[in-house]
Amino acid sequence: MATRKKDDQLDLMQGTLDLLILQTLVGGRAHGHAIACSIEKRSEEVLQVGHGSLYPALQRLLKCGLIVAKDGVSDNNRKARFYTLTAKGRRQLFVEASKWQKLSRAIACILAPAMEERS
């Protein structure tokens, strides 16, 4: 459950959900609910994943062959569908993550004066 205040929470930027899903699956296979919870938890509950938007994203990644799905049973003994990263997905993650880091560094550089002013 989200424990942060609403003002501290951020909606995901367009196109970043796929990247976060891939990153989440680096740690091993996971089902949809676990992926959503993991993203929220690892972002210290800043990023809010619309659970409903998770599934179209998962279908998209499946279609591109970046992940594969397999039926299984969850920890609390429920039927669930587990997603695993493929080698192609891993390569794609590396490419996208590098791009993202470059972008964030560039934006950080631009925004640095504003931050200094505030401090």
Binding site: M1, H31, H33, H51, G52, S53, Q59, R60, S74, A80
Partner: protein, 744 residues
């Protein structure tokens, strides 16, 4: 379909499991179960929307939607059987009539000219006064054809052909069969390849080889794979089959389709082996040459070529091959297609009105669907699908209807009109009909769809109430206007038909049966032929129900007539250039059997046979033109010979004595594409001459029975049996279309 359902169910299961886990997590965090479930749902958002978006990733959602729409449309149509039946039948009638007309147009107008570059094919014909014996009124002499081929630069190819009927004997028996005598480059001009074997080539000019049509090969040679090299007998001579034409080839101006093609072999005298010295001409223009250019060049060559006697007063004309093949049919069939399209428009307006009525009762359904989240586009798609489905059902039913009608038309008119035996509903046409149905579905659904949409989007206010009333009224007005137009057109057609029925034919066609008779061996002694002719006439006369029998060299509305036109002078009366008459040779009972109206004098009597004098009847037009103010009876007429002209140029130099005057008869061909002729009624002379004496081997017997031949089932067989029993050997009164022409 395509595992969509199981895939979707699996996704929904997964989302359900997701929600369960989230609920469990909330419960573990201390929420009461109801609240926990509620919170999980809230956090997830719209489950159906998520499922829908996931499905859109899979692709082909439109197809899934379409199939779902079709299922829904089918259920919707089944729920209102009365409405659906009316709608589908209305559209079936419209689409069916258009399909019938398209099938006829495709088979009769389009397929016959399905040749390489048909726009470059032209018919070259002679027009003006006809003189002497000709196989066709528009034929050119072989000499003129050679001159054109040799000298004209506008033509890539130029060839001639003659159509005739002759006895053809194959393994399956002897029959009078249509033949086409062609110059060796005929098939090259048309650009037709052989289906099997090879076609006639220039080297075949003087050889006894024939090419047969696909239909002849199938019926007369039993479709034998060893047909190439087989011998067939034509008019007592042996010919070798060297090739078979493709089934798609239609010989110009031929009905039936069982045709034998043989090379024209013109000798020194300018005549071929059938004593014909002229042929109809078709040519292929060179690329970029226009019709007037070609005509001008051909005319100049024709003027300076060694024209024979018959061609001296003539000039050249030219028209497209399309006109030659489809001539008189073209305008009629396109008009009928136009009428069918108007009928389809009426059906569309009717269907539109039906749907407007139904849409009123569906407003609630549309509102509910809209409230559930269906977009305007989705609703329109659903409505369109429903209408197109109804329309396609109409097309299927209409195609069935068309198939039945086409089968009927083919049975009724095959052999009577060229290419009608080939009329069929081609698969391509069914596709076109379906495409038309889709267009009709969209057109017919425009008004009701717009009405529903304006209602659903809430723009339906009191302002639109007037429009709602206007639209059906407008459609009804359109229907009434179109129906009135069709009624007026049909009324005109009926008037024309009635006028045609009232046209004075000059002869009485009721109860008349005609047959073509010819000796199997054309070289038979004329004396024997004469004896057989007389014997045959007596046998026909002895048949039950037969009132009178005669023979005539050319009968009205017939194919394959040998016609004799000539400069004619009345003895003792000044001759003017242009005094031409049309001659028909007849036997004694001509007046009784043909029912021609005798105005003055007498008909032929048996005594005329032995009198040694050739007696003739002339028609009113002849009497008016040549004997104005004179007593026609007893006057003598003869073919005019210019100084230096001999028996070879103008046969029948004997004077003929006029014994009676008959009414003008209608001229014309039954279905052959004739070049329009203008002018006064034909001036005719009916001369009582023995056929064998004038070298004409095609005799047409006219048998007048008490009842029309068609109501007389045994008559055809009886005539045929009589002809078979005769000493003519293989005589058979049988040709395609001509066999027993009963103008009843």
């Amino acid at each position: 379909m395509f595992g969509w359902r199981s895939r979707r169910e699996k996704l929904l299961e997964e989302i359900e499991s997701h929600l369960d886990m989230a609920t469990q997590q909330n419960i573990e965090a201390g929420m009461p179960p109801d609240q926990a479930k509620q919170a999980a749902k809230k956090r997830f958002g719209n489950v159906l929307l998520a499922a829908e978006r996931s499905r859109s990733v899979w692709g082909a959602v439109w197809l899934e939607n379409l199939l779902r729409d079709i299922r829904y449309a089918w259920r919707s149509l089944s729920a209102a059987p009365g409405y659906s039946l009316t709608l589908v039948s209305t559209l079936a009638l419209g689409l069916g009539s258009v399909t019938v007309m398209l099938a006829i147009i495709q088979s009769v107008l389009l397929l016959p000219v399905n040749l390489p570059h048909p726009e470059r094919l032209v018919q070259v014909y002679a027009e003006g006064q006809i003189r002497g014996i000709t196989s066709s009124q528009h034929a050119l002499s072989y000499a003129a054809i050679d001159a054109l081929r040799r000298e004209a630069r506008c033509f890539a190819d130029l060839s001639g052909y003659n159509t005739m009927v002759l006895p053809v004997k194959t393994e399956t028996g002897a029959r009078v069969n249509p033949l086409m005598e062609v110059t060796p480059d005929f098939f090259q001009t048309l650009g037709v390849p052989a289906q099997a074997g090879r076609l006639i080539q220039p080297a075949d000019a003087n050889t006894q080889v024939v090419v047969v049509s696909d239909r002849f090969w199938r019926s007369q040679m039993r479709g034998s794979p060893r047909a190439i090299g087989e011998a067939i007998t034509i008019s007592g001579r042996q010919w070798t089959v060297i090739g078979i034409l493709p089934a798609t080839f239609h010989a110009p101006g031929m009905t039936g389709g069982q045709v034998v093609f043989l090379p024209i072999s013109a000798g020194q005298s300018g005549q071929d082996i059938f004593k014909i010295e002229s042929a109809a001409v078709i040519a292929r223009l060179k690329d970029g040459i226009s019709l007037p250019q070609a005509r001008a060049e051909a005319q100049s060559i024709f003027q300076h070529s060694g024209r024979n006697y018959a061609e001296q007063q003539r000039r050249l004309g030219m028209r497209s091959y399309q006109q030659l093949v489809t001539g008189e049919m073209q305008r009629l069939l396109w008009t009928l297609l136009g009428a069918a399209l108007v009928l389809l428009l009426i059906a569309c307006a009717n269907a539109g009105n039906l749907q407007i009525g139904r849409s009123t009762s569906r407003m609630t359904e549309m509102n509910v669907r809209s409230a559930l989240g269906a977009g305007l586009g989705r609703l329109m798609q659903q409505l369109l699908t429903e209408n197109i489905l109804a329309s396609l059902l109409g097309a299927v039913l209409g195609s069935g209807l068309a198939f039945v009608i086409i089968t009927g038309v083919r049975r009724a008119y095959a052999g009577k009109y060229p290419r009608f035996e080939d009329i069929t509903v081609h698969p391509l046409l069914l596709c076109a009909s379906c495409a038309l149905a889709v267009a009709v579905g969209i057109l017919a659904s425009l008004a009701p769809t717009l009405k529903i949409c304006s209602h659903v989007t809430g723009s339906s206010t009191s302002r639109n109430a007037t429009q709602r009333l206007l639209l059906p009224g407008l459609l009804v007005a359109t229907q009434v206007a179109l129906t009135c137009m069709l009624l007026a057109t049909s009324g005109l057609f009926v008037c024309t038909l009635r006028s045609l029925q009232n046209v004075k034919l000059g002869f009485n066609p009721k109860g008349v049966t005609t047959l073509v008779l010819m000796p199997e061996n054309q070289q038979q002694n004329p004396q024997i032929s004469h004896a057989i002719e007389i014997g045959l006439l007596h046998r026909f006369e002895a048949l039950p129900g037969v009132q009178s029998v005669t023979m005539q060299s050319a009968i009205p509305f017939s194919h394959y007539d040998m016609t004799l036109h000539g400069a004619t002078e009345v003895v003792g009366w000044p001759f003017h250039q242009g005094d031409f008459a049309y001659f028909s040779f007849v036997s004694t009972n001509f007046v009784q059997a043909s029912g021609i109206h005798l105005l003055r004098g007498r008909g032929f009597v048996p005594a005329d046979e032995s009198s040694g004098m050739i007696v003739a009847l002339v028609n009113e037009a002849f009497a008016g033109a040549f004997l104005n103010g004179r007593q026609p009876l007893g006057a003598s007429l003869q073919f005019h010979r210019d100084p230096g002209e001999t028996e070879a140029d103008i046969p029948f130099a004997q004077p003929m004595t006029i014994v009676g005057v008959v009414q003008n008869e209608v001229k014309g061909g039954r279905s052959r594409s004739t070049i329009p002729a203008h002018g006064l009624p034909r001036r005719s002379v009916f001369a009582r001459v023995l056929f064998s004496e004038c070298g004409i081997q095609h005799e047409r017997a006219i048998c007048r029975a008490l009842k029309p031949a068609r109501s007389y089932p045994g008559s055809q067989v009886a005539y045929r049996r009589q002809a078979r029993r005769s000493d003519h050997g293989g005589d058979e009164p049988e040709t395609d279309g001509e066999e027993y022409l009963a103008i009843a």
